[in-house]
């Protein structure tokens, strides 16, 4: 466990920052939005990212990966949070890859992981069924029929769902709707007959979809892990995803914070730089303190994925909660401290505010994770 980055990770951070600020700045996201881009991210950019090894950053070397672990991944996600880069990095290279690593058969791993690593294949997790994160409340059914399963149900808030080649579908193979047991995970081609996908236009100009499954036939070989034991994969999978999105939120917070700090040092009112006013200084200093706390929490949670998975559930809920609160505070204050210009579309601060709001909702909002943290703590 380390609470500081090593030399290699710091180098990776510099590389990532250079690449993203020149190839995928916030302006690129604005263009995707204004052009109503059908995919929602640049395939060319994703290919470049894959060529640098980012799609395989957490993959063991045996599958053609860089094996940088989650601390290395966190560095890249944080930088992509600073530039609000739209790409399948989170949905596919983190969530998809983790699902395969945790539950995939050797055949899945051998065929799919190298394809993801090379940028040719993308995945998305189809989990949520209501407007709040309730990972075990699953009504989508998976009915065993000979050597295959029949999927029926509907999913929402599927990140990158409309562009992914394959979906990882969480379905109920037995038990009642809210039962922890009886879940199974399936790999399903998005183009399979009976899969119906609608892209949703969200405030952050990124991609999510609603997806219906109508009598979709899935061969039993595309089951991830064991039938009815899906939670054993889903729990660690979600915790990894939560820590990863927390890293992106850290970057988002830092950038909004830095840009606002620069503004406080150049904007004049009442004949003085507004950064000299104590009313703003104390709020900014308080946010700096919270940034420092979140930095430690995030590093501990990322390294728990690599080194001490037994600590991960508590740390993942801690990290998601703290970063939810941080990014909410920092982006709201960023708008407020910019004053009138802060609510214009021209200023990029609004993009940070909107991405923050979506990220807060991904895989558990503050209320969800506070409840989980308390439950894990025995109260």
């Amino acid at each position: 466990m380390a609470l500081v980055l090593n030399e290699e990770q710091r180098l990776l951070q510099d590389t990532a920052r250079d690449f993203l600020t020149s190839n995928a700045p916030v302006e690129a996201l604005r263009m995707l939005r204004d052009n109503n881009d059908a995919v929602g991210y640049s395939g060319q950019l994703w290919q470049k990212m894959a060529d640098m090894g980012w799609a395989s950053i957490i993959l063991p070397e045996a599958y053609g990966g860089l094996d940088f672990g989650f601390v290395g991944l966190g560095v890249i996600l944080e930088e992509s949070g600073r530039t609000l880069t739209a790409s399948p990095l989170f949905a596919s290279a983190v969530v998809g890859v983790s699902a395969l690593l945790l539950g995939g058969s050797e055949a899945h791993k051998q065929t799919l992981l190298p394809a993801i690593a090379s940028g040719k294949l993308t995945l998305a997790l189809a989990l949520e069924e209501s407007h709040h994160h309730r990972p075990t409340h699953i009504a989508t059914t998976a009915e065993k029929q000979g050597d295959s399963f029949l999927l029926n149900g509907s999913k929402q808030f599927v990140l990158d769902g409309h562009s992914a080649d394959k979906l990882i579908v969480v379905a109920r193979s037995s038990g009642a709707e809210s039962n922890n047991q009886g879940l199974s995970l399936f790999l399903v081609d998005r183009t399979t007959s009976g899969v119906n996908c609608q892209r949703t236009i969200l405030m952050d100009s990124r991609n999510a979809s609603n997806i219906q499954f109508e009598n979709v036939v899935v061969p039993a070989t595309d089951l991830l892990g064991d039938a009815d034991e899906g939670l054993k994969i889903l729990e660690p999978l979600l915790d990894r995803a939560r820590v990863a999105i927390a890293a992106e939120m850290m970057g988002c917070s830092l950038e909004a914070f830095d840009r606002t700090l620069a503004y406080l040092k150049e904007r004049e009112q009442f004949g003085a730089l507004i950064g000299s006013f104590q009313a703003l200084q104390h709020r900014k200093a308080h946010m700096q303190s919270e940034l420092e706390l979140c930095r430690s929490v995030l590093l501990q949670a990322l390294s728990a994925v690599d080194d001490s998975p037994e600590d991960l559930p508590v740390l993942a809920s801690l990290a998601k909660t703290k970063l939810n609160e941080l990014v909410k505070l920092v982006t709201n204050e960023a708008v407020q401290m910019h004053g009138g210009i802060g609510v214009t579309d021209e200023l990029e601060i609004g993009f940070f505010l909107k991405r923050a709001r979506v990220a807060i909702q991904i895989f558990g909002d503050t209320g969800y994770h506070k409840d989980r943290y308390a439950t894990l703590g025995g109260y």
């Binding site: 609470l3 950064g275 700096q288 420092e292 706390l293 929490v297 943290y373 308390a374 025995g378």
Partner: protein, 395 residues
């Protein structure tokens, strides 16, 4: 690293052989030993434990051996601390001398001053008080007025110092005094050591909202102080004070994790005082507040570890600059939360209707209010972060 592991084993063995069983228990404030001419050992075991540690120089483990210290490196010092913590060994000697004045004299004092004062601190012979704040100089410390006039072979000191912790039990006091009123306020301050037995020094305790009186006001009425008691150059006291304040803030940030009192922690208190339904605290708001507190404490503790790791790796970050603010605010939150959890059992002041733990918790709640004021208030901490970390323009 191997040497360090060997050192750890040696320390462990020595502690096991030398730390009396009774000195491996949590202690009440009355059981702490603070040394000084009037210092009394709470028990024979405490005396024995102190003497054994003193003889190794481990009352001040990292100070140089030539003045009686332990001569340990920072890493060895940490190992000793960890090993003591492992067996819950009590701190054998407390004091501002060890925490603050010693480091200041070692860094800024001359050879004579080190000889005179350092060993006496290590040996628990002198107990020190701190004379910084004045009735008219709190957060604006640099505006202090207690003056020391140059009278040839001595300084003549007149004025008063407030919040002098336990000064009524101390032998010496280190003071910030005004030696030049005609320059920028920070540039006319000197750092002076004063023997509290000198004629003209008097001290009165101040009753606090906690019911305790650990703070005093100390008065100086034509006190003659020898010239050789000046630490660092004349009018350079502010730099010494600033360096010491960093020490003090670090101590205050850590205080919560090393509380000598046998008091409740909110999680345990919840099980004792709150109703549970299906394994959850029934009062949703209190449950939510408890999560907030637990999360904040975990984040503060992790940040504390991070500062150690960064120091070892030679990395600078803003983390040390925020610790006093976040640490003391979290302590205050903790006390508020404990009282809320205890309900009307968290209102008792004295008498037999409440148990000792309940009364201690209430008293500590009142005391916790001082934590975000002393050593530079939270507002001052935020000013410092704005100035030194964020480099915001100053008005």
């Amino acid at each position: 690293m191997e040497d360090l592991e060997q050192f750890r084993l040696d320390v462990r063995e020595w502690l096991n052989a030398n730390c009396p069983e009774s000195q491996r228990q949590p202690m009440t404030p009355e059981e702490q030993y603070w040394g000084g001419r009037r210092g009394e050992f709470p028990s024979e075991d405490a005396r024995r434990w102190f003497e054994r540690m003193r003889d190794k120089g481990w009352t001040a483990p990292e100070w140089p051996t030539e003045y009686g210290g332990g001569g340990l490196t920072a890493l060895e010092g940490r190992v000793l601390k960890e090993e003591m913590k492992r067996i819950h060994a009590r701190t054998p000697l407390y004091g501002i001398g060890i925490w603050m004045l010693g480091p200041a004299v070692l860094e800024y004092g001359n050879k004579e001053q080190k000889k005179q004062h350092i060993r006496a601190i290590v040996n628990g012979e002198t107990r020190w008080a701190q004379g910084y704040s004045e009735p008219g100089a709190g957060s604006d410390l640099a505006s202090l007025q207690c003056k020391a006039e140059d009278k040839g072979d001595h300084f003549l000191v007149n004025g008063s110092k407030i919040w002098t912790t336990a000064a009524d039990k101390c032998d010496w006091i280190f003071c910030l005094v005004r030696t030049n009123p005609d320059v920028k306020k920070q540039e006319g301050i000197s750092f002076l050591l004063i023997d509290m037995d000198d004629p003209g020094v008097s001290t009165t305790p101040i009753a606090l909202i906690s019911g305790e009186s650990e703070f005093c006001q100390t008065f100086f009425d034509n006190v003659k102080v020898p010239k050789e008691n000046l630490v660092a150059e004349l009018n350079k006291g502010w730099s010494v004070a600033k360096a010491l304040l960093v020490h003090e803030r670090k101590l205050m940030a850590e205080m919560g994790s090393d509380s000598p009192r046998h008091i409740l922690v909110p999680n345990m208190a919840a099980h004792e005082y709150l109703e549970f339904e299906n394994g959850k605290i029934a009062d949703a708001r209190l449950r939510s507040d408890l999560v907030d507190y637990d999360m904040q404490m975990q984040a503060v503790a992790l940040t504390h570890f991070r500062t150690f790791e960064e120091k070892a790796a030679g990395i600078r970050s803003a983390a040390p600059m925020v610790m006093k603010y976040v640490g003391t605010e979290a302590e205050k939150t903790k006390s508020e939360l404990l009282l809320a959890i205890m309900g009307s059992r968290g209102l008792g002041w004295e008498g037999d209707e409440f148990n000792a733990q309940e009364i201690d918790t209430v008293r500590l709640w009142a005391m916790s209010k001082a934590m975000t004021i002393a050593g530079g208030s939270s507002e001052i901490q935020l000013n410092l972060i704005a100035k030194n970390v964020l480099e915001l323009p100053q008005s």
